[in-house]
């Protein structure tokens, strides 16, 4: 029992540590914002990876679940706050964990649960069908969520109105304006901070890791590898797919809750649209369909991409460090002869380490007047073109993503000795059979 809880304690400790740095203002407002957004993006990508990576289904409506979680969480903190405290604070109240923030955490969880319910409703019928249908259904789902959210009424401004409205306040989510009250100009409070980001992100990664290490995760992967063989081995395809889909939706909903309360974000129905789903999908495809660490690294890098391109000069000095990582990766990779998977992980790490340096260099060169164009230009403005090119390249060169299903921590195997050859020699069949038979060899 203790061993099972230890990582949870570690996650909480990390979250407290990060929050401590934030409160001590070691991490300034700019980096706070970048890090929180990075955490949310990673969380969303890792949750989608359960569906698209582990289970091999192609969902392209993940933003729909995120938006549902965001709006439900927003509904809980906004109207809940009005009912309990009679106000919507502009900024979170002072203190490490003011009571409003617990309502926010509950809102995130509630958003996750509602998103999971929708995941079940969408997944159950569509996951029975052949793979391609899921893409169409999820795409449609995201658009439906967006349109429905646009139809909602204006945000209620005071507690009395909320009491009158009761549960129908769920229909007062601001419509296409977003979750902002027209009367008071107040939107959702920016409750999110590094504690909740790290906490929910850590929980998400832990959940995915434990799934991957377990029979359930193997079942996910087997469905992705070969549905017919998986079924023949007794895997209930629909149940396994729905399970992955619902867990993915729950986690996306939680991510949505964080997103809705992140400072600088204004929650609007367009957050459910295809563009955002695509943003969540890119790191999954790049990092590796099925690799948790690969997706984490790719999502982190992609969050940094606009920041790097905004100020390429600031990131150029990083080149010796990242270059060293890349060199080690390539060197170790070349030295590994017979373990293809490990070698690929090395190269993937090297590529990811080189990417920011090359990006900074490219952004810097583009900015310089007279280098590439006469006046110089912001490469960041062509972000979507870069993504598209990257995806096309990936699909051609390495369709399973940089890391495939492999994880960075599998590198640890390099330091393990291979088990010695079976001393029984070339015909161990009979003796091994005896050992199985004597142990029952029967039911587990």
């Amino acid at each position: 029992m203790f061993a099972g809880l230890l990582p949870v304690v570690v996650v909480i400790a990390l979250a407290l540590g990060a929050y401590g740095l934030q409160r001590a203002e070691v991490i300034g407002p700019y980096w706070l914002n970048v890090l929180c957004n990075m955490g949310i993006n990673i969380l969303l990508a890792v949750s989608l990876n359960l569906v698209n990576g582990f289970t091999g289904q192609f969902s392209i409506g993940h933003a729909g679940f995120m938006a549902i979680g965001a709006y439900v969480a927003g509904w809980i903190t906004y109207y809940g706050g009005l009912l309990i405290w009679n106000e919507v604070p502009v900024t979170p109240p002072e203190g490490w964990f003011p009571p409003q923030v617990w309502l926010f955490a509950a809102g995130c969880v509630g958003g996750g649960l509602v998103a999971g319910l929708f995941g079940w409703l969408v997944g159950l019928p569509s996951l029975r069908l052949r793979g391609d249908y899921l893409a169409i259904v999820t795409l449609g789902f995201g658009e439906i969520v967006r349109v429905l959210l646009q139809q909602t009424g204006p945000v209620l401004a005071d507690a009395a109105a909320v009491k009158d409205a009761g549960l129908s306040s769920a229909m007062a989510l601001g419509g296409s304006l977003g979750f902002v009250s027209v009367d008071t100009g107040l939107g959702l409070t920016a409750f999110n901070n590094l504690f909740w980001t790290v906490f929910f992100l850590g929980a998400t990664i832990l959940i995915c890791y434990r799934l991957k290490q377990s029979s359930t995760g193997r079942a996910f992967l087997s469905v992705r590898e070969d549905e017919i063989a998986a079924q023949a081995m007794g895997i209930n395809l629909t149940r396994i797919k729905v399970r992955a889909f619902v867990i993915g939706a729950v986690l996306a909903g939680i991510g949505g809750g964080l997103f809705a309360h992140q400072s600088g974000n204004n929650l609007t129905p367009t957050d459910a649209n295809f563009v955002r789903s695509f943003d969540i999908l890119i790191p999954v495809v790049l990092g590796g369909l099925g690799s948790i660490s690969g997706v984490v690294l790719a999502a982190a890098l992609l969050t940094m991409l606009p920041e790097i391109l905004r100020n390429p000069g600031e990131y150029l000095p990083l080149w010796p460090w990242l270059g060293a990582v890349a060199a080690i990766g390539i060197g170790v990779g070349l030295a590994i002869r017979h373990r293809r998977a490990l070698r690929e992980v090395c190269f993937a790490v090297a590529i990811l380490a080189l990417a920011p340096v090359l990006l900074a260099l490219a952004g810097w060169a583009c900015k310089k007047p007279g280098w590439i164009t006469e006046k110089g230009f912001e490469l960041g403005e062509y972000r979507m073109i870069l993504f598209a090119l990257l995806l096309v390249l990936m699909m051609i060169l390495r369709p399973q993503g940089l890391f495939g299903v492999h994880e960075v921590w599998e590198m640890g195997k390099l330091f393990k000795k291979k088990p010695p050859k079976d001393p029984m020699g070339p015909a161990p069949v009979a003796s091994a059979l005896n050992s199985v038979a004597s142990r029952g060899g029967g039911r587990l």
Binding site: G4, T216, R218, M233, A341, V429, S438
Partner: protein
């Protein structure tokens, strides 16, 4: 347990007696093509049964019908007293029918041992809460799965490749890994679709020994599709011959070998009219 490993093989099972797998009149057609028609099979417990026939005869289709990949258009399939012809594939696997595939269908990206572990999945309970909380019960089950998988890998001499990606295995090893994976589901009846395909004579000889041994030790009933007549005649107690989706002969290996219809099916039609 006992010394049955080296005992002489049981006398050919009679076609009567209680059948573990009882197949009556199943058939399926694809468009106009009658791939399998009025197929009957009577597998007594513990038998090693051969299913042979020329290319395209419908052997693999029979396997697909038995395992629920296709639903038979006619007929019934009874496994140990339970009707399974309308069940879905995973239910059939849970009921105790497991198979290998003619064109190997391993989970290629997964490691060798994970392939076998996946086979153990169907015999366990995998609650989400216990998985995420790593309860002692969950950990014990996972450990049991790993232990049993290693034991199965040892039988097939794959234990020292347990951590390798299964797609990187040599062809013969992949075939044997498929059998190990099928055994992990703890089947009552094991269906092997051309397990010796692509193996060299030495490997085939070892495979024959392994098939006999797993049959004895796990109390299996085995239905075997194989093109290598030497292997089939050597290890099977009874054989059914399919041609153009229909049974043309059933009997002991010696009866089959001397059956003129079988010889005709394999050598082509002497009449020449088609």
């Amino acid at each position: 347990m006992n010394a049955a490993a080296s005992a002489a093989r049981p006398a050919p099972a009679a076609p009567s007696g209680p059948a573990l797998l009882d197949v009556r009149d199943i058939g399926i057609s694809f468009g106009g093509l009658k791939a399998v028609q009025a197929f009957n099979l009577h597998l007594p417990r513990g038998v090693l049964y051969g299913l042979i026939g020329p290319n395209g005869a419908g052997k693999t289709t029979v396997f697909n019908l038995l395992t629920g990949v296709y639903t038979p258009m006619t007929g019934t399939i009874t496994l140990d007293g339970t009707r399974i012809e309308t069940c879905r594939p995973h239910q059939i696997a849970a009921a105790g029918l497991s198979r290998t595939f003619q064109n190997i269908r391993l989970f290629g990206e997964l490691s060798v041992i994970d392939n076998v572990r996946l086979g153990c999945h169907v015999r366990g309970r995998h609650g989400l809460a216990s998985t995420l909380l790593r309860t002692p019960g969950h950990l014990a089950q996972e450990a049991a799965i790993t232990r049993r998988s290693m034991e199965l890998l040892e039988i097939f001499d794959l234990a020292d490749r347990a951590g390798e990606q299964s797609r990187s295995l040599p062809y013969g090893d992949q075939r044997r890994l498929e059998i190990a994976r099928a055994l992990a589901t703890e089947p009552k009846v094991l269906l092997l679709d051309e397990p010796a395909a692509g193996m060299n004579p030495q490997e085939k000889k070892e495979l024959a020994g392994t098939i006999r041994l797993i049959r004895e030790r796990f109390g299996l009933t085995i239905l075997l599709i194989e093109h290598d007549m030497g292997l089939v005649m050597d290890i099977c107690e009874r054989i059914t011959v399919l041609d153009h989706g229909q049974i043309i002969a059933s009997g002991t290996p010696s009866q089959i070998q001397s059956n003129p219809k079988v010889i005709e099916a394999y050598l082509g039609e002497p009449g020449g009219a088609a």
